[in-house]
Protein backbone atom coordinates (compact mmCIF):
# COMPACT_ATOMS: atom_id res chain seq x y z
CA UNK A 1 0.00 0.00 0.00
CA UNK A 2 1.45 3.37 -0.96
CA UNK A 3 1.93 6.00 1.74
CA UNK A 4 -0.31 9.07 1.50
CA UNK A 5 0.84 12.49 2.71
CA UNK A 6 -2.01 14.96 2.24
CA UNK A 7 -0.92 18.45 1.20
CA UNK A 8 -4.36 20.04 1.40
CA UNK A 9 -6.18 19.51 4.69
CA UNK A 10 -8.21 22.19 6.46
CA UNK A 11 -8.53 22.85 10.19
CA UNK A 12 -11.30 24.98 11.65
CA UNK A 13 -14.82 25.98 10.84
CA UNK A 14 -15.76 27.99 7.75
CA UNK A 15 -18.42 30.68 7.60
CA UNK A 16 -20.74 28.37 5.68
CA UNK A 17 -20.06 25.41 7.95
CA UNK A 18 -21.71 22.13 6.97
CA UNK A 19 -23.09 20.08 9.83
CA UNK A 20 -20.72 17.33 10.92
CA UNK A 21 -17.64 18.62 9.10
CA UNK A 22 -14.50 17.80 11.10
CA UNK A 23 -12.87 20.94 12.48
CA UNK A 24 -10.39 19.81 15.15
CA UNK A 25 -6.99 18.05 14.91
CA UNK A 26 -8.48 14.96 16.58
CA UNK A 27 -11.33 14.77 14.09
CA UNK A 28 -8.95 15.20 11.14
CA UNK A 29 -6.68 12.45 12.49
CA UNK A 30 -9.67 10.11 12.87
CA UNK A 31 -10.60 10.60 9.22
CA UNK A 32 -6.97 10.14 8.17
CA UNK A 33 -6.89 6.85 10.10
CA UNK A 34 -10.09 5.70 8.36
CA UNK A 35 -8.59 6.40 4.93
CA UNK A 36 -5.00 5.33 5.56
CA UNK A 37 -3.44 8.81 5.27
CA UNK A 38 -0.29 8.90 7.36
CA UNK A 39 0.43 12.63 7.65
CA UNK A 40 -0.87 15.95 6.35
CA UNK A 41 0.08 19.55 5.80
CA UNK A 42 -2.71 21.55 7.43
CA UNK A 43 -4.04 25.07 6.86
CA UNK A 44 -6.41 27.00 9.12
CA UNK A 45 -9.67 28.35 7.73
CA UNK A 46 -9.71 31.16 10.27
CA UNK A 47 -6.89 32.74 8.29
CA UNK A 48 -9.02 32.93 5.18
CA UNK A 49 -12.19 34.43 6.53
CA UNK A 50 -11.26 36.49 9.59
CA UNK A 51 -8.07 36.72 11.66
CA UNK A 52 -4.89 35.58 9.93
CA UNK A 53 -2.46 36.22 12.78
CA UNK A 54 -4.65 34.50 15.35
CA UNK A 55 -5.12 31.62 12.90
CA UNK A 56 -1.37 31.13 12.52
CA UNK A 57 -0.83 31.14 16.30
CA UNK A 58 -3.75 28.77 16.81
CA UNK A 59 -2.52 26.43 14.09
CA UNK A 60 1.05 26.30 15.37
CA UNK A 61 -0.15 25.73 18.95
CA UNK A 62 -2.74 23.11 18.02
CA UNK A 63 -0.38 21.01 15.93
CA UNK A 64 2.63 21.22 18.26
CA UNK A 65 1.59 17.98 19.96
CA UNK A 66 1.47 15.75 16.88
CA UNK A 67 4.02 15.03 14.19
CA UNK A 68 1.30 13.70 11.84
CA UNK A 69 -0.16 17.17 11.25
CA UNK A 70 2.28 19.74 9.89
CA UNK A 71 1.29 23.41 9.95
CA UNK A 72 1.10 25.56 6.82
CA UNK A 73 0.63 29.22 7.80
CA UNK A 74 -1.10 31.96 5.84
CA UNK A 75 0.70 35.19 4.94
CA UNK A 76 0.00 38.67 3.55
CA UNK A 77 2.23 41.07 1.59
CA UNK A 78 3.96 43.65 3.77
CA UNK A 79 2.88 47.05 2.43
CA UNK A 80 0.10 47.58 4.98
CA UNK A 81 2.26 46.42 7.87
CA UNK A 82 -0.29 44.01 9.31
CA UNK A 83 1.91 40.96 9.94
CA UNK A 84 5.50 42.11 10.36
CA UNK A 85 8.13 41.86 7.67
CA UNK A 86 8.03 38.74 5.50
CA UNK A 87 11.55 37.72 6.55
CA UNK A 88 10.71 37.94 10.26
CA UNK A 89 7.38 36.17 9.83
CA UNK A 90 8.82 33.36 7.73
CA UNK A 91 11.71 32.89 10.19
CA UNK A 92 9.32 32.61 13.11
CA UNK A 93 6.89 30.22 11.49
CA UNK A 94 9.65 27.89 10.32
CA UNK A 95 11.14 27.89 13.81
CA UNK A 96 7.75 26.81 15.15
CA UNK A 97 7.41 23.92 12.69
CA UNK A 98 5.57 25.32 9.68
CA UNK A 99 6.63 23.77 6.37
CA UNK A 100 4.37 25.50 3.90
CA UNK A 101 2.54 28.77 3.27
CA UNK A 102 -0.92 29.50 1.86
CA UNK A 103 -1.93 32.77 0.22
CA UNK A 104 -5.44 33.95 -0.70
CA UNK A 105 -4.89 36.99 -2.97
CA UNK A 106 -8.48 37.31 -4.20
CA UNK A 107 -10.16 36.86 -0.83
CA UNK A 108 -7.60 39.11 0.88
CA UNK A 109 -7.65 41.73 -1.85
CA UNK A 110 -4.12 42.00 -3.24
CA UNK A 111 -2.02 41.03 -6.25
CA UNK A 112 0.50 38.21 -6.20
CA UNK A 113 2.68 40.05 -8.74
CA UNK A 114 6.06 41.37 -7.62
CA UNK A 115 5.00 45.03 -7.41
CA UNK A 116 2.70 44.00 -4.55
CA UNK A 117 3.99 40.67 -3.15
CA UNK A 118 7.63 40.57 -4.28
CA UNK A 119 9.24 40.74 -0.83
CA UNK A 120 6.92 38.04 0.52
CA UNK A 121 7.67 35.73 -2.40
CA UNK A 122 11.42 36.37 -2.11
CA UNK A 123 11.36 35.53 1.62
CA UNK A 124 9.68 32.21 0.86
CA UNK A 125 12.00 31.51 -2.06
CA UNK A 126 15.10 32.19 0.06
CA UNK A 127 14.03 29.64 2.69
CA UNK A 128 12.62 27.20 0.11
CA UNK A 129 9.13 27.24 1.66
CA UNK A 130 6.54 25.76 -0.74
CA UNK A 131 3.69 28.13 -1.61
CA UNK A 132 0.12 26.78 -1.84
CA UNK A 133 -2.87 28.50 -3.40
CA UNK A 134 -6.36 27.59 -4.51
CA UNK A 135 -6.52 28.17 -8.25
CA UNK A 136 -9.65 30.30 -7.83
CA UNK A 137 -7.58 32.75 -5.77
CA UNK A 138 -5.20 33.71 -8.60
CA UNK A 139 -5.16 34.43 -12.32
CA UNK A 140 -3.09 32.17 -14.54
CA UNK A 141 -1.10 35.21 -15.71
CA UNK A 142 -0.19 36.03 -12.11
CA UNK A 143 0.88 32.42 -11.55
CA UNK A 144 2.98 32.52 -14.71
CA UNK A 145 4.77 35.66 -13.50
CA UNK A 146 5.44 34.24 -10.04
CA UNK A 147 6.86 31.04 -11.53
CA UNK A 148 9.10 32.98 -13.94
CA UNK A 149 10.38 35.57 -11.45
CA UNK A 150 10.91 33.15 -8.55
CA UNK A 151 12.40 30.05 -10.10
CA UNK A 152 13.48 28.56 -6.76
CA UNK A 153 9.98 28.91 -5.29
CA UNK A 154 7.89 25.74 -5.48
CA UNK A 155 4.27 26.67 -6.21
CA UNK A 156 1.43 24.21 -5.60
CA UNK A 157 -1.88 25.04 -7.30
CA UNK A 158 -4.67 23.28 -5.42
CA UNK A 159 -8.23 22.16 -6.17
CA UNK A 160 -7.83 22.97 -9.85
CA UNK A 161 -10.68 22.69 -12.30
CA UNK A 162 -10.73 19.79 -14.77
CA UNK A 163 -11.04 22.46 -17.48
CA UNK A 164 -7.58 24.05 -16.99
CA UNK A 165 -5.27 21.78 -18.99
CA UNK A 166 -4.77 24.22 -21.87
CA UNK A 167 -3.16 26.73 -19.53
CA UNK A 168 -1.58 24.22 -17.15
CA UNK A 169 0.37 22.32 -19.78
CA UNK A 170 2.31 25.37 -21.10
CA UNK A 171 3.06 26.32 -17.51
CA UNK A 172 4.31 22.79 -16.78
CA UNK A 173 6.42 23.01 -19.93
CA UNK A 174 8.10 26.27 -18.97
CA UNK A 175 8.28 26.08 -15.19
CA UNK A 176 9.67 23.07 -13.31
CA UNK A 177 8.68 24.77 -10.04
CA UNK A 178 4.94 24.31 -10.74
CA UNK A 179 3.01 21.50 -9.04
CA UNK A 180 -0.72 20.77 -8.78
CA UNK A 181 -2.61 18.64 -6.29
CA UNK A 182 -5.31 16.02 -6.83
CA UNK A 183 -8.12 17.61 -4.82
CA UNK A 184 -11.55 18.04 -6.43
CA UNK A 185 -12.64 19.47 -8.77
CA UNK A 186 -9.44 18.13 -10.36
CA UNK A 187 -11.16 15.23 -12.12
CA UNK A 188 -9.80 15.32 -15.64
CA UNK A 189 -10.03 11.91 -17.32
CA UNK A 190 -6.50 10.63 -18.00
CA UNK A 191 -4.85 13.73 -16.47
CA UNK A 192 -2.51 11.94 -14.06
CA UNK A 193 -1.30 9.54 -16.74
CA UNK A 194 -0.72 12.32 -19.27
CA UNK A 195 1.05 14.69 -16.85
CA UNK A 196 3.32 11.91 -15.59
CA UNK A 197 4.12 10.85 -19.14
CA UNK A 198 4.80 14.34 -20.48
CA UNK A 199 6.12 16.31 -17.52
CA UNK A 200 7.10 13.75 -14.86
CA UNK A 201 5.52 12.50 -11.64
CA UNK A 202 7.19 15.19 -9.53
CA UNK A 203 4.68 17.75 -10.84
CA UNK A 204 1.79 16.15 -8.91
CA UNK A 205 1.15 16.31 -5.17
CA UNK A 206 -1.38 14.22 -3.28
CA UNK A 207 -3.93 16.54 -1.67
CA UNK A 208 -7.57 15.99 -0.81
CA UNK A 209 -9.11 19.37 0.04
CA UNK A 210 -10.82 17.64 2.98
CA UNK A 211 -13.24 18.51 4.50
CA UNK A 212 -14.36 20.99 1.82
CA UNK A 213 -14.35 17.90 -0.39
CA UNK A 214 -14.42 14.23 0.49
CA UNK A 215 -10.94 12.70 0.39
CA UNK A 216 -11.95 9.41 -1.25
CA UNK A 217 -12.03 10.69 -4.86
CA UNK A 218 -8.45 12.04 -4.63
CA UNK A 219 -7.29 8.67 -3.27
CA UNK A 220 -8.82 6.54 -6.03
CA UNK A 221 -7.78 9.10 -8.67
CA UNK A 222 -4.22 8.09 -7.69
CA UNK A 223 -4.52 4.44 -6.65
CA UNK A 224 -6.31 3.45 -9.88
CA UNK A 225 -4.10 5.60 -12.14
CA UNK A 226 -2.40 3.72 -14.96
CA UNK A 227 1.15 4.69 -13.95
CA UNK A 228 4.04 2.74 -12.37
CA UNK A 229 3.89 2.10 -8.61
CA UNK A 230 7.07 4.13 -8.08
CA UNK A 231 5.33 7.17 -9.57
CA UNK A 232 2.30 6.54 -7.34
CA UNK A 233 4.61 6.54 -4.31
CA UNK A 234 6.20 9.81 -5.39
CA UNK A 235 2.82 11.47 -5.93
CA UNK A 236 1.30 9.91 -2.81
CA UNK A 237 3.96 11.17 -0.40
CA UNK A 238 7.47 11.46 -1.83
CA UNK A 239 7.08 14.71 -3.73
CA UNK A 240 5.58 16.64 -0.83
CA UNK A 241 8.04 15.07 1.62
CA UNK A 242 10.85 16.39 -0.57
CA UNK A 243 9.37 19.90 -0.53
CA UNK A 244 8.93 19.80 3.25
CA UNK A 245 12.46 18.54 3.82
CA UNK A 246 13.77 21.25 1.51
CA UNK A 247 12.65 24.06 3.81
CA UNK A 248 15.80 25.74 5.15
CA UNK A 249 15.67 25.76 8.93
Amino acid sequence: MIELLDGNLRLGMRTQHKSGEPTTPGELLAEMDRLGISRALVRDQLAVETDLEHANRRLLDALAETDRLIPACALLPEATGETGTPVETVDEMIARGARGVWVYPTTHGYSLRDWCSGSLLSALETRRVPLFMLWQEVSVDDVAEVLARHEALDVVLTSISYRLNRVLYPLFEKHPNLHVDLAAPNASCGFIEQVVGRFGADRLIFGTGFPDHEAGPAITYLTYADIPDDDKRRIGAGNLQKLIEGVEQ
Partner: protein, 264 residues
Protein backbone atom coordinates in the same frame (compact mmCIF):
# COMPACT_ATOMS: atom_id res chain seq x y z
CA UNK B 1 -16.77 -7.03 -0.13
CA UNK B 2 -14.57 -7.98 -3.06
CA UNK B 3 -13.01 -11.34 -2.20
CA UNK B 4 -11.79 -11.09 1.39
CA UNK B 5 -11.20 -7.35 1.26
CA UNK B 6 -13.60 -4.54 2.03
CA UNK B 7 -14.39 -2.18 -0.83
CA UNK B 8 -12.49 0.62 0.91
CA UNK B 9 -9.43 -1.64 1.16
CA UNK B 10 -9.69 -2.40 -2.57
CA UNK B 11 -9.88 1.33 -3.28
CA UNK B 12 -6.89 2.11 -1.09
CA UNK B 13 -4.87 -0.59 -2.88
CA UNK B 14 -6.11 0.28 -6.37
CA UNK B 15 -7.41 -3.28 -6.70
CA UNK B 16 -9.89 -3.99 -9.47
CA UNK B 17 -13.45 -4.72 -8.28
CA UNK B 18 -13.63 -8.25 -9.69
CA UNK B 19 -16.36 -9.65 -7.44
CA UNK B 20 -18.78 -6.72 -7.51
CA UNK B 21 -21.21 -5.80 -10.26
CA UNK B 22 -20.44 -2.21 -11.25
CA UNK B 23 -22.67 -0.36 -13.71
CA UNK B 24 -21.99 3.24 -14.77
CA UNK B 25 -25.22 5.04 -15.66
CA UNK B 26 -23.58 8.19 -17.04
CA UNK B 27 -20.89 8.27 -19.72
CA UNK B 28 -20.29 10.28 -22.89
CA UNK B 29 -18.65 9.59 -26.21
CA UNK B 30 -17.67 11.83 -29.10
CA UNK B 31 -15.51 14.85 -29.77
CA UNK B 32 -15.59 17.77 -27.35
CA UNK B 33 -13.30 20.78 -27.63
CA UNK B 34 -14.50 23.49 -25.24
CA UNK B 35 -11.89 22.04 -22.84
CA UNK B 36 -9.15 19.44 -23.09
CA UNK B 37 -9.88 15.82 -22.19
CA UNK B 38 -6.67 13.74 -22.03
CA UNK B 39 -8.40 10.37 -22.55
CA UNK B 40 -11.46 11.23 -24.64
CA UNK B 41 -12.42 8.16 -26.68
CA UNK B 42 -14.62 5.15 -26.15
CA UNK B 43 -11.52 2.93 -26.16
CA UNK B 44 -10.09 5.07 -23.34
CA UNK B 45 -13.32 4.71 -21.38
CA UNK B 46 -13.41 0.94 -21.80
CA UNK B 47 -9.73 0.65 -20.78
CA UNK B 48 -10.52 2.58 -17.59
CA UNK B 49 -13.58 0.40 -16.98
CA UNK B 50 -11.32 -2.65 -17.30
CA UNK B 51 -8.82 -1.25 -14.82
CA UNK B 52 -11.44 -0.37 -12.20
CA UNK B 53 -13.75 -3.32 -12.74
CA UNK B 54 -16.73 -1.45 -14.19
CA UNK B 55 -18.75 -4.15 -15.94
CA UNK B 56 -20.89 -1.97 -18.20
CA UNK B 57 -21.94 1.60 -18.86
CA UNK B 58 -24.55 3.67 -20.64
CA UNK B 59 -23.20 6.44 -22.84
CA UNK B 60 -24.55 9.40 -24.81
CA UNK B 61 -23.03 11.42 -27.64
CA UNK B 62 -21.58 14.79 -26.64
CA UNK B 63 -22.32 16.44 -30.02
CA UNK B 64 -25.93 15.36 -29.57
CA UNK B 65 -26.30 16.19 -25.87
CA UNK B 66 -24.52 19.54 -25.78
CA UNK B 67 -24.00 20.55 -29.37
CA UNK B 68 -25.97 20.85 -32.53
CA UNK B 69 -25.24 17.55 -34.26
CA UNK B 70 -28.00 15.37 -32.84
CA UNK B 71 -27.86 12.64 -35.44
CA UNK B 72 -24.06 12.50 -35.58
CA UNK B 73 -23.78 12.31 -31.81
CA UNK B 74 -26.36 9.55 -31.60
CA UNK B 75 -24.58 7.66 -34.38
CA UNK B 76 -21.37 7.75 -32.31
CA UNK B 77 -23.29 6.04 -29.50
CA UNK B 78 -24.66 3.41 -31.86
CA UNK B 79 -21.11 2.73 -33.08
CA UNK B 80 -19.74 2.49 -29.54
CA UNK B 81 -22.47 0.07 -28.44
CA UNK B 82 -21.85 -2.06 -31.54
CA UNK B 83 -18.11 -2.17 -30.86
CA UNK B 84 -18.54 -3.17 -27.22
CA UNK B 85 -21.68 -5.32 -27.01
CA UNK B 86 -22.70 -6.01 -23.43
CA UNK B 87 -20.24 -3.41 -22.10
CA UNK B 88 -21.56 -0.20 -23.65
CA UNK B 89 -25.26 0.63 -23.85
CA UNK B 90 -26.62 3.86 -25.25
CA UNK B 91 -28.96 6.77 -24.60
CA UNK B 92 -30.59 8.67 -27.47
CA UNK B 93 -29.97 12.39 -26.98
CA UNK B 94 -32.86 14.69 -27.79
CA UNK B 95 -32.26 18.33 -28.69
CA UNK B 96 -35.49 20.33 -28.47
CA UNK B 97 -34.09 23.03 -30.77
CA UNK B 98 -33.32 20.60 -33.58
CA UNK B 99 -35.95 20.95 -36.31
CA UNK B 100 -35.76 17.23 -37.10
CA UNK B 101 -38.54 14.98 -35.81
CA UNK B 102 -37.55 13.87 -32.28
CA UNK B 103 -39.77 10.79 -32.24
CA UNK B 104 -38.36 9.58 -35.54
CA UNK B 105 -34.80 10.00 -34.23
CA UNK B 106 -35.62 8.03 -31.07
CA UNK B 107 -37.22 5.26 -33.12
CA UNK B 108 -34.23 5.17 -35.50
CA UNK B 109 -31.81 4.82 -32.59
CA UNK B 110 -34.02 2.29 -30.78
CA UNK B 111 -33.95 0.14 -33.92
CA UNK B 112 -30.15 0.35 -33.76
CA UNK B 113 -30.14 -0.90 -30.17
CA UNK B 114 -30.19 2.17 -27.91
CA UNK B 115 -32.32 1.81 -24.79
CA UNK B 116 -32.75 5.15 -23.03
CA UNK B 117 -33.10 8.91 -23.45
CA UNK B 118 -30.67 11.67 -22.44
CA UNK B 119 -31.83 15.28 -22.05
CA UNK B 120 -29.89 18.42 -21.06
CA UNK B 121 -31.27 21.86 -20.29
CA UNK B 122 -28.24 23.58 -21.82
CA UNK B 123 -30.61 24.10 -24.76
CA UNK B 124 -32.51 26.61 -22.61
CA UNK B 125 -35.78 24.72 -22.89
CA UNK B 126 -37.99 23.29 -20.17
CA UNK B 127 -37.99 19.52 -19.75
CA UNK B 128 -41.70 19.91 -20.44
CA UNK B 129 -40.96 20.89 -24.09
CA UNK B 130 -43.07 19.16 -26.74
CA UNK B 131 -40.00 17.63 -28.45
CA UNK B 132 -38.96 16.05 -25.20
CA UNK B 133 -42.50 14.81 -24.68
CA UNK B 134 -42.38 12.98 -28.00
CA UNK B 135 -39.36 11.09 -26.66
CA UNK B 136 -40.91 10.52 -23.22
CA UNK B 137 -43.93 8.88 -24.87
CA UNK B 138 -41.64 6.26 -26.39
CA UNK B 139 -39.72 5.84 -23.12
CA UNK B 140 -43.05 5.37 -21.30
CA UNK B 141 -44.13 2.63 -23.70
CA UNK B 142 -40.81 0.82 -23.45
CA UNK B 143 -40.11 1.36 -19.73
CA UNK B 144 -36.87 3.17 -20.53
CA UNK B 145 -34.74 5.36 -18.29
CA UNK B 146 -34.44 9.08 -19.04
CA UNK B 147 -31.17 10.61 -17.82
CA UNK B 148 -31.69 14.31 -17.06
CA UNK B 149 -28.96 16.88 -16.47
CA UNK B 150 -29.84 18.67 -13.23
CA UNK B 151 -28.24 21.20 -10.90
CA UNK B 152 -30.77 21.44 -8.08
CA UNK B 153 -32.91 24.22 -9.59
CA UNK B 154 -36.39 24.61 -10.97
CA UNK B 155 -35.88 21.58 -13.22
CA UNK B 156 -36.56 19.38 -10.19
CA UNK B 157 -40.15 20.65 -10.06
CA UNK B 158 -40.51 19.97 -13.79
CA UNK B 159 -39.29 16.40 -13.36
CA UNK B 160 -41.57 15.92 -10.36
CA UNK B 161 -44.60 16.54 -12.59
CA UNK B 162 -43.22 14.47 -15.45
CA UNK B 163 -42.50 11.53 -13.13
CA UNK B 164 -46.17 11.48 -12.21
CA UNK B 165 -47.28 11.83 -15.82
CA UNK B 166 -44.93 9.14 -17.14
CA UNK B 167 -44.89 6.48 -14.39
CA UNK B 168 -43.14 3.80 -16.47
CA UNK B 169 -40.17 6.05 -17.20
CA UNK B 170 -37.25 5.70 -14.75
CA UNK B 171 -36.17 9.29 -14.23
CA UNK B 172 -32.47 9.62 -13.35
CA UNK B 173 -31.28 12.97 -11.96
CA UNK B 174 -27.62 13.52 -12.86
CA UNK B 175 -25.24 15.39 -10.53
CA UNK B 176 -27.51 14.81 -7.55
CA UNK B 177 -26.68 16.97 -4.56
CA UNK B 178 -24.35 19.44 -6.26
CA UNK B 179 -26.75 21.96 -4.75
CA UNK B 180 -30.10 21.63 -2.95
CA UNK B 181 -29.62 18.20 -1.37
CA UNK B 182 -33.07 18.31 0.29
CA UNK B 183 -34.70 18.95 -3.09
CA UNK B 184 -33.11 15.82 -4.55
CA UNK B 185 -33.74 13.45 -1.67
CA UNK B 186 -37.32 14.59 -1.18
CA UNK B 187 -38.13 14.10 -4.85
CA UNK B 188 -36.50 10.66 -5.01
CA UNK B 189 -38.29 9.59 -1.84
CA UNK B 190 -41.67 10.86 -3.02
CA UNK B 191 -41.58 9.38 -6.54
CA UNK B 192 -41.01 5.64 -6.95
CA UNK B 193 -39.61 6.19 -10.45
CA UNK B 194 -37.00 8.89 -9.62
CA UNK B 195 -33.34 7.97 -9.06
CA UNK B 196 -30.20 9.93 -8.16
CA UNK B 197 -26.94 9.73 -10.14
CA UNK B 198 -23.79 10.53 -8.12
CA UNK B 199 -21.50 11.94 -10.82
CA UNK B 200 -19.99 15.41 -10.23
CA UNK B 201 -16.43 16.72 -10.19
CA UNK B 202 -16.74 17.70 -6.51
CA UNK B 203 -18.12 15.61 -3.66
CA UNK B 204 -18.95 17.65 -0.59
CA UNK B 205 -18.58 16.25 2.91
CA UNK B 206 -21.05 13.46 3.67
CA UNK B 207 -22.93 13.90 0.37
CA UNK B 208 -23.25 10.23 -0.57
CA UNK B 209 -24.36 9.42 2.98
CA UNK B 210 -27.04 12.14 2.79
CA UNK B 211 -28.33 10.83 -0.55
CA UNK B 212 -28.45 7.25 0.69
CA UNK B 213 -30.06 8.13 4.00
CA UNK B 214 -32.44 10.70 2.59
CA UNK B 215 -33.64 9.05 -0.61
CA UNK B 216 -33.14 5.41 0.35
CA UNK B 217 -30.17 3.35 -0.79
CA UNK B 218 -32.21 1.75 -3.57
CA UNK B 219 -32.61 5.16 -5.25
CA UNK B 220 -28.91 6.03 -5.65
CA UNK B 221 -27.00 5.08 -8.84
CA UNK B 222 -23.28 5.24 -9.63
CA UNK B 223 -22.30 7.45 -12.56
CA UNK B 224 -18.90 8.73 -13.67
CA UNK B 225 -19.53 11.31 -16.42
CA UNK B 226 -16.58 9.76 -18.29
CA UNK B 227 -14.82 10.98 -20.31
CA UNK B 228 -15.81 14.46 -19.18
CA UNK B 229 -14.57 13.37 -15.75
CA UNK B 230 -12.24 10.67 -14.46
CA UNK B 231 -13.91 7.36 -13.62
CA UNK B 232 -11.06 6.60 -11.21
CA UNK B 233 -11.78 9.82 -9.33
CA UNK B 234 -15.56 9.36 -9.39
CA UNK B 235 -15.63 5.87 -7.87
CA UNK B 236 -13.80 7.05 -4.73
CA UNK B 237 -16.86 8.80 -3.29
CA UNK B 238 -18.72 5.48 -3.26
CA UNK B 239 -15.90 3.15 -2.21
CA UNK B 240 -14.95 5.34 0.77
CA UNK B 241 -18.49 6.42 1.75
CA UNK B 242 -19.52 5.89 5.37
CA UNK B 243 -22.07 3.21 4.45
CA UNK B 244 -21.95 -0.59 4.52
CA UNK B 245 -20.34 -2.61 1.75
CA UNK B 246 -23.79 -4.04 0.99
CA UNK B 247 -25.12 -0.55 0.39
CA UNK B 248 -22.07 0.34 -1.72
CA UNK B 249 -22.77 -2.69 -3.92
CA UNK B 250 -26.37 -1.55 -4.37
CA UNK B 251 -25.23 1.91 -5.45
CA UNK B 252 -22.41 0.62 -7.65
CA UNK B 253 -24.55 -1.71 -9.69
CA UNK B 254 -27.32 -3.73 -8.08
CA UNK B 255 -29.81 -0.85 -8.20
CA UNK B 256 -29.08 -0.34 -11.90
CA UNK B 257 -30.13 -3.91 -12.69
CA UNK B 258 -33.70 -2.92 -11.84
CA UNK B 259 -33.63 0.50 -13.49
CA UNK B 260 -32.11 -0.78 -16.75
CA UNK B 261 -33.93 -4.14 -16.83
CA UNK B 262 -30.67 -6.06 -16.63
CA UNK B 263 -30.53 -9.80 -15.85
CA UNK B 264 -29.61 -10.83 -12.28
Amino acid sequence: MSGTRSLAECARLGKRLDDVFVFDVHQHVGAWHPFHIPAPGIDDAVAIMDRLGIDAAVTSGLPAVLGTDTRGGNDAVIDAAARYPGRIFGYVAVNPNDPADAAEEVKRCAAAGLTGIKVHNIHAQSYDHEKYRAAYEIAETRGWPVLTHTWGGEELAEIDKLAEEYPNVRWILAHAGTTNVPGYVNLARRRDNVYLDTCASACYFNLVEKLVTGAGVEKVLFGTDMTFLSGAQQIGKILFARISDGDKERVLGENARRVFNLPE
